[in-house]
């Protein structure tokens, strides 16, 4: 235990801990080692100023404290992407606010040792205390390869520890090796920089380490023959994606229903036991509604990360990317963006979180900017209500119901717009000329461990709750206050000619006189060209917390007898003042404008919050909100004008 003497006092301050960073290629097993070392003590965040995720965690061995950091995977140290620039900057201590590392753990996949030695040469040239964690030696052996890891250590001049992270083998040795990081042996000579000499150096290291490469993985080859087959592979891919979507879209629904029932029950309790109606409203509707609005996302997030980590762990994600690359390439993205965009059909929040699987920061940004345009499930109730106001269920186009066709057109419009948006965002970012080449390792098929799947689900859920929960909660409370203040006493209600017992009339009156009502009137000039009445504006404002709120708010405004099904009340609603007095509010041009508005507008603070969390700054969520609002306004204006012209030309209904 003499090791614990050096390093001075090891107090419980993280800055006193030795900083150890994990470096290595993607798929080398870096993250498994990181998870084994830090367990649930890991934290995820972002590197300052860039959309690159940062994972750090604490480890204590024999009262020595270490801060462990899992750097993004990289194949080399001449960066060609923001992610790789982070690795280079982190290794040299050039990142603002983050010191330089004390020691490096270089994670090397034994089955790709020949290739990996190029990264080894580059990392050793940094002259930092370095230890090599040699992974996948079991797979090397199973495929007929051999390697003498002690001899490899002698050839390279650094300590080598064999680690089979998914079985926990070698982790104890790695832990205890970390305690003596100051005494790690260092290479006597640098590896040569010249390409030809480097090749000779690689050969000599492999010879000294008695390396015999693994044969081709027969199991993987057999599976690939089916899964990457032009016909069978495409069919399996379609089936996997349908199942994936089904789970996120349909399986999450009953769980979300449970969350709703739970929070409705709690709100009911509050209503019964809190004597002051305004406090009951604040606690029951605003606070509990807000917390419920956060928790409601958990089923989808957990299910999606369950599926993503299983598919990723098996190795299917890169196969799916291989099959879809050409299609996504048309939008300037790569195959791996497909899953994120597909998830966004259920909800943009898990969709945006899924962009973590993309290796390039530019692709992550482009996908995030596009994801909210995919038609999420929260738009469905709004679409159903509005389409019902626009087209009668009896109208048919040939054998097809026109309502269904409109719905399909809205989905198509959203998806195509998302592709165009991604392409533009990518093109704008590529102005720097740093065109990230597309390359992807196709790892052998492996069986993921329950542990890695559980950690991925846990990590994403806690990160969402911690970073997005507060944003959603604050938005919900703020909107509730706007929609319900100022408060009215029964005497005031009677003075206004209302019966305080008539809930529908009272809630309509409360909304009419609320701060939100004032805002709705104030912004009328902005939305008037789209045909939106101030009451529609209030609905749009309320839908900022979640799009489906639009339906209930309109119901409340129209003092519908059933606020969740307000179609009849809305159809009868007319302008009460101004130039349009007496005309119906939900005329065909206005409904068409609203539909297009909801296709484009980022009416979802949860999406804004998760974008903030994933990009590490407010810049991208603000850009997204701005450009989507501009598109929404313009699109709605065009739709309004077009339908106005069409109805003026044709017979008026």
């Amino acid at each position: 235990m003499t090791d614990s003497c050096h390093g001075g006092g090891t107090t419980s301050v993280a800055s006193d801990a030795a900083r150890v960073v994990l470096v290595g290629s993607p798929n080398a097993g870096k993250t498994s080692i990181f998870n084994r070392l830090t367990g649930l003590n890991a934290k995820t965040g972002n590197y300052p100023g860039v959309t690159v995720g940062r994972s750090t965690g604490l480890l204590t061995v024999d009262s020595l404290r270490f801060s462990i950091e899992d750097l993004p995977g990289t194949y080399g140290l001449s960066p060609i992407s923001p992610d790789e620039q982070v690795v280079v900057s982190a290794l040299s201590g050039a990142l603002p606010g983050i010191g330089s590392p004390d020691a490096l753990v270089l994670v090397v996949d034994a089955t790709t040792l020949r290739r990996s030695l190029h990264l080894v040469a580059e990392v050793l040239a940094l002259h930092q205390p370095t230890l090599i964690a040699l992974t996948l030696t079991d797979e090397l052996g199973a495929r007929g390869g051999t390697l003498d890891s002690a001899a490899l250590g002698r050839a390279l001049g650094v300590p080598v520890v064999g680690v089979i992270a998914h079985r926990g083998l070698g982790i104890a040795e790695l832990r205890s090796a970390l305690t003596s990081w100051r005494e790690w042996s260092r290479p006597v000579l640098d590896a040569p920089a010249d390409a030809a000499e480097l090749a000779a150096w690689v050969d000599s290291v492999l010879l000294t380490a008695r390396y015999r490469p693994a044969g081709p993985d027969r199991r993987t080859a057999r599976i690939d023959a089916v899964l990457l087959h032009p016909v069978w592979g495409t069919l399996v891919f379609a089936a996997v994606m349908v199942a994936f979507f089904q789970v996120i879209f349909a399986f999450a629904a009953p769980l979300q229903g449970l969350v709703e029932v739970l929070f409705a029950g709690l709100a009911d309790l509050v209503d019964r036991f809190v004597p002051w109606p305004w406090l009951a409203g604040l606690l029951g509707d605003a606070v509990l509604g807000g917390v419920g609005g956060v928790v409601i996302f958990l089923p989808q997030i957990l299910l999606m990360f369950l599926l993503v980590s299983v598919l990723e762990g098996i190795g299917y994600m890169s196969r799916a990317a291989f099959l879809m690359d050409r299609v996504m390439g048309a939008a300037g993205l790569e195959g791996r963006a497909f899953v994120a965009l597909l998830s966004s059909f259920a909800c943009a929040v898990p969709g945006i979180m899924a962009t973590r699987t993309l290796p390039s920061a530019k692709d992550r940004i482009a996908t995030m900017m596009a994801a909210p345009l995919m038609t999420c499930s929260a738009r469905l109730p709004v679409y159903i209500l509005l389409i019902g106001l626009l087209v009668s269920p009896d109208e048919r186009f040939g054998p097809l119901q026109v309502q269904g066709l409109v719905m399909f057109a809205l989905y198509l419009l959203g998806a195509l717009s998302a592709m165009v948006a991604a392409w533009i965002v990518k093109a704008v970012q590529d102005r720097d000329g740093l065109l990230m080449p597309f390359y992807m390792e196709m790892p052998p098929y492996r069986i993921p461990t329950l542990r890695s799947i559980a950690l991925s689900m846990w990590g994403s859920a806690t990160a969402f709750l911690r970073k997005c929960g507060s944003i959603i909660l604050v938005t919900t409370i703020l909107l509730w206050l706007l929609l319900n203040l100022p408060l009215h006493t029964d005497a005031e209600l009677r003075a206004a000619g209302l019966d305080p017992a008539d809930d529908g009339a009272v809630s309509a009156y409360v909304l009419d006189t609320s701060a939100a009502g004032a805002i709705g009137r104030a912004v009328e000039p902005v939305f008037d060209p789209l045909g939106f009445d101030w009451r529609v504006n209030v609905g749009v404002l309320a839908s900022l917390s979640a799009r489906e709120t639009f339906v209930a708010t309109l119901g409340q405004i129209a003092s519908a007898t059933d606020p969740d099904n307000p179609a009849d009340a809305l159809a009868a609603m007319t302008y009460t003042d101004g130039a349009h007095e007496g005309e119906p509010v939900f005329s065909a041009p206005t409904v068409a404008a609203l539909l297009v508005f909801f296709v484009y507008a980022l009416q979802c603070m949860s999406t804004v919050g998760v974008m903030r969390r994933e990009t590490g700054s407010w810049r991208w969520p603000l850009i997204a909100f701005g450009y989507m609002f501009a598109l929404a306004w313009l699109g709605a204006w065009l739709a309004h004008g077009a339908v106005l012209l069409a109805t003026a030309a044709g017979p008026t209904p």
Partner: protein, 109 residues
């Protein structure tokens, strides 16, 4: 067009006898990398460096395993692992087809 990591400048030019770019190499056929070339410039040099870091270096054997259903990208076996490249990147790599005796996988006939 300049070439980086070129061992033999004249043999490295695609179009000269027996050489072609990697994206043109038939599936299943074994090729040997002659050069990893790119247009002039810092970025292009880094792309070539990256392909080198992925194991695509002059003298290395490389074999296209399969192409995606829509023709692009392709999976290659190089340096004991499977690497997926788009044609845009594969076309930067000049290869020569190894003499028939050395190919082990069945040729597409």
């Amino acid at each position: 067009m300049t070439t980086v990591h070129s061992s033999d400048e004249s043999a490295a030019r695609p179009g000269s006898a027996g050489t072609l770019t990697l994206d043109q190499l038939e599936v299943g056929r074994l090729g040997r990398v002659l050069a990893v070339g790119a247009e002039v410039g810092d970025v292009a040099r880094r792309l070539a460096d990256r392909l080198g870091a992925l194991g695509v270096l002059p003298g290395t054997s490389i074999r296209p395993l399969r192409r995606a259903p829509l023709g692009d990208p392709s999976v290659y076996r190089v340096c004991d692992f499977d690497l997926c490249l788009r044609d845009a990147q594969a076309s930067l790599v000049t290869v020569t087809v190894d003499v028939p005796g050395t190919t082990t996988a069945g040729r597409a006939s």
